[in-house]
């Protein structure tokens, strides 16, 4: 399942396969338009949206500069309310902490709310190996769990699965139901999952959720869902375990409220998600429901190494998915090609940062640097700049092939010498302009097949900008 080893090092092959997958191409085409329109309409409806983005960014920057202190404050509050905090340096420690809690509770099945951290630590496969059955309850996560697939999008994990395939999956697994039942409409599929999962909710011994925020002021953990599955997961079983990474902490309820105002609008274009739930400790003495035990597993897994570095900004991410919804690369290859838990522009930065440039060095190059991701990121993460940092790291570690590195060196040599650059480019440009004069474009070019196999290269039109500039008497700074 998702605990499988990353395949980010095979990104070019993954991407080629994705481009050839017609089903995936149809899902991608229909999904991205809806997400983009809804996000832009939601942003337009709230005049303060841009100010809130600034404030959200500032809140997280402040937190990251004081992360140790806010985590200690959070831990103190959780403990005061009768909860337990478990610190985990890496995925193995986090899995171990969850398993120990499940074992102590005598758990046979656990229900799960949607959690990217659970994917990151490969929790489901680990629990299964240890005789505990994990049941994903978010509809999309449930579908891909049955299909033994990884999420292809951080908020729409099964958007790549057409309804006919969902129906086939349900027929294969829900064998107790009438084989002659109708499963054609999304409504019928949803009803079936609701019925099957309701029984699982009621039977579970432990409920595991992620967290969108941890509140230092009160010790609360926060989940945001539309389905209500997270709430059933964390209210019905005897034990509630939250798995969350360090950077989820925010100072106060007010700070969380500010970021919540940009989260749903950026993710789904909703004004607010259906259910936003703040959980603080286990049930109180007289309460009629709620868990008897409350545990928070706090995961580092490489994040503390990013604090104070040029990559720190990536830790502001609130996992809304806007960057991938607006990314032209994600838009044609989908999520699985990225080869690890986090796809799209955020994955192109987070994956090499967390699992290493050696494994994931292709991802920061899978970008046109169009900048749309940064322009829609509610936390104003400069994703293209971070990708550029990672490309530099890749270059420094001599990961690209020698021909590519030499090519870049030659280009850099020329680019720093404008006169030479103009001279070296003038002849080929004139030649291309003449060859492509009739059609205005090239369908194929020697040595540029990678480009022209997917689109045409426009032919140069007339003289270059630089020569026009000189002819018009434009001023030139002396090159330094």
């Amino acid at each position: 399942m998702s605990a499988d080893a990353p395949t980010s090092h095979r990104f070019p092959e993954n991407a080629r396969a994705a481009l050839a997958d017609e089903t995936l191409q149809r899902s991608l085409a229909s999904a991205k338009v809806g997400f983009r329109v809804r996000r832009s309409e939601a942003a337009a409806r709230l005049p303060e949206f841009e100010i809130l983005r600034d404030e959200a960014r500032d809140i997280k920057n402040h937190v990251l500069a004081h992360l140790d202190l806010y985590l200690e404050a959070f831990e103190t509050r959780v403990t005061e309310r009768g909860g337990h905090v478990h610190w985990a340096r890496d995925a193995a420690e986090a899995r171990g902490a969850v398993l120990a809690i499940c074992r102590a509770a005598g758990a046979r099945t656990v229900t799960k709310g949607k959690s990217m951290i659970s994917e990151e630590i490969g929790l489901n496969a680990f629990l299964e190996e240890n005789g505990i059955e994990p049941v994903e309850t978010d509809l999309g996560e449930y579908i891909i769990q049955l299909r033994h697939e990884a999420p292809s999008h951080i908020i729409a994990p099964a958007f790549h699965v057409p309804k006919a395939e969902v129906a086939a999956t349900f027929r294969k697994h829900h064998t107790a139901l009438d084989p002659a039942r109708l499963l054609e409409q999304p409504r019928q599929l949803l009803e079936e999952a609701r019925g099957v999962l309701r029984d699982r909710f009621l039977a579970a011994d432990v409920g595991i959720t992620g967290a969108n925020f941890l509140i230092a002021e009160t010790g609360a953990t926060v989940i945001v869902t539309n389905e209500g599955n997270g709430d059933l997961t964390q209210t019905l079983p005897r034990v509630h375990i939250v798995v969350a990474s360090l950077e989820k902490v925010v100072p106060t309820l007010e700070d969380a409220s500010t970021i919540l105002r940009v989260l749903a609008r950026s993710a789904t274009g909703q004004e607010f998600t259906s259910y936003t739930t703040f959980s603080t400790g286990p049930r109180r003495g007289e309460d009629l429901d709620g868990p008897h035990e409350f545990h928070v597993v706090l995961l580092d897994n490489g994040r503390s190494d990013l604090v104070g570095t040029e990559l720190q900004d990536v830790l502001r991410c609130i996992r809304c998915g806007a960057c991938m919804n607006h990314c032209p690369v994600f838009g044609v290859i989908g999520g699985h090609a990225y080869g690890w838990v986090y796809p799209g522009p955020i994955g192109a930065v987070l994956s090499p940062s967390l699992i290493g440039v050696e494994e994931a060095h292709h991802l920061p190059s899978a970008s046109t640097f169009c900048g749309r991701c940064e322009s829609v990121c509610p936390m104003r993460i400069p994703l293209p700049a971070l990708m550029r940092h990672l490309r530099e790291r890749e270059f420094e570690k001599k990961i690209p092939p020698a021909t590519q590195r030499w090519g870049l060196r030659i280009w850099a040599f020329l680019a720093k010498r404008p006169r030479l650059y103009r001279l070296a480019t003038a002849v080929p440009l004139r030649l291309l302009g003449r060859l492509g004069r009739r059609s205005g474009r090239f369908r194929s070019l020697p040595m540029a097949g990678g480009w022209t196999s997917q689109r045409d290269l426009p032919a140069p039109q007339g003289p270059s900008f630089q020569s026009l500039w000189d002819r018009a008497g434009g001023r030139r700074e002396k090159p330094v």
Binding site: D68, A97, L139, L253, S257, T268, E271, F272, R283, L288
Partner: protein
């Protein structure tokens, strides 16, 4: 293991943030921020007056597929609940939160309602609860857990009916937090509920009633004639 891990993680963060050189000042700044819990920008729509709040709440709640009934006073609440159940062809057997605020309504005047009190059960079709507050900004209900207000009622039934007093209508989330702080206790659970349960996980087709309630009905109770009428109901 966790002690050692804790020290390692916090140690790494302290080094990365240069904590040794500024420990006292940083601790003071963090302590101050937590104690003051200052507000950030509140959108203009989250700052309306009483009348404006009611209108905005109804508009926002209806936009996310909740239904809203406006009644002028406590005496009309049982009738509004019975009317809703009849209109939606829902059973009259319902589970009600053991909440003294709800007991104040004259349920005897709707004798057809078969009311049981307690937490939510798997077999429940209809639940009736109060709300700690309602937040006009996004048509959001704020419910808190407690012996009189069990959380399971908010998620297990097919239909969730929430009786909200107009006096509990606040403008923005921050107003809700201030009200909660004023009670002096932090409950296990605070639910912000905005419309019924939904999912678009199958082919991006939005459908109501994923795992939580399929229907969310809000009975908004004024303090007397005139307060909440005039809007559509």
């Amino acid at each position: 293991m966790t002690r050692e891990s804790r020290d390692a993680v916090l140690g790494a963060l302290r080094r990365a943030t240069g904590r040794d050189s500024n420990a006292a000042a940083a601790a003071a700044s963090v302590g101050d921020r937590l104690a003051r819990h200052a507000r950030n920008t509140i959108p203009a729509r989250g700052q309306r007056d009483r009348r404006g709040r009611l209108d905005l709440f109804v508009e926002q709640a209806e936009a996310v597929d909740a239904t809203v009934a406006l009644v002028s006073g406590a005496a009309d609440v049982p009738g509004a609940v019975a009317d809703y159940l009849r209109g939606e062809n829902l059973p009259t057997r319902l589970r009600m939160a053991p909440d003294p605020k709800l007991d104040a309504y004259p349920w005897d005047e709707a004798p057809l309602l078969d009311i049981e009190h307690g937490k939510g059960e798997a077999s429940d079709t209809v639940a009736v609860t109060g709300a700690f507050a309602a937040i006009a900004e996004t048509g959001t209900l704020m419910l808190v857990s407690g012996p009189e207000t069990p959380t399971t009622l908010n998620f297990l039934p097919d239909a969730h009916i929430v009786v909200v007093r107009a006096a509990d209508m606040v403008a923005c989330y921050e107003d809700g937090w201030d009200r909660l702080r004023a009670t002096g206790r932090m409950p296990r659970t605070v639910n912000f509920i905005t419309g019924p349960s939904r999912s678009a996980d199958i082919e991006q087709t939005l459908q109501l009633g994923a795992h939580g309630p399929r229907w969310l009905h809000i009975v908004l109770v004024g303090d007397g004639p005139g307060e909440v009428e005039g809007s559509d109901g």
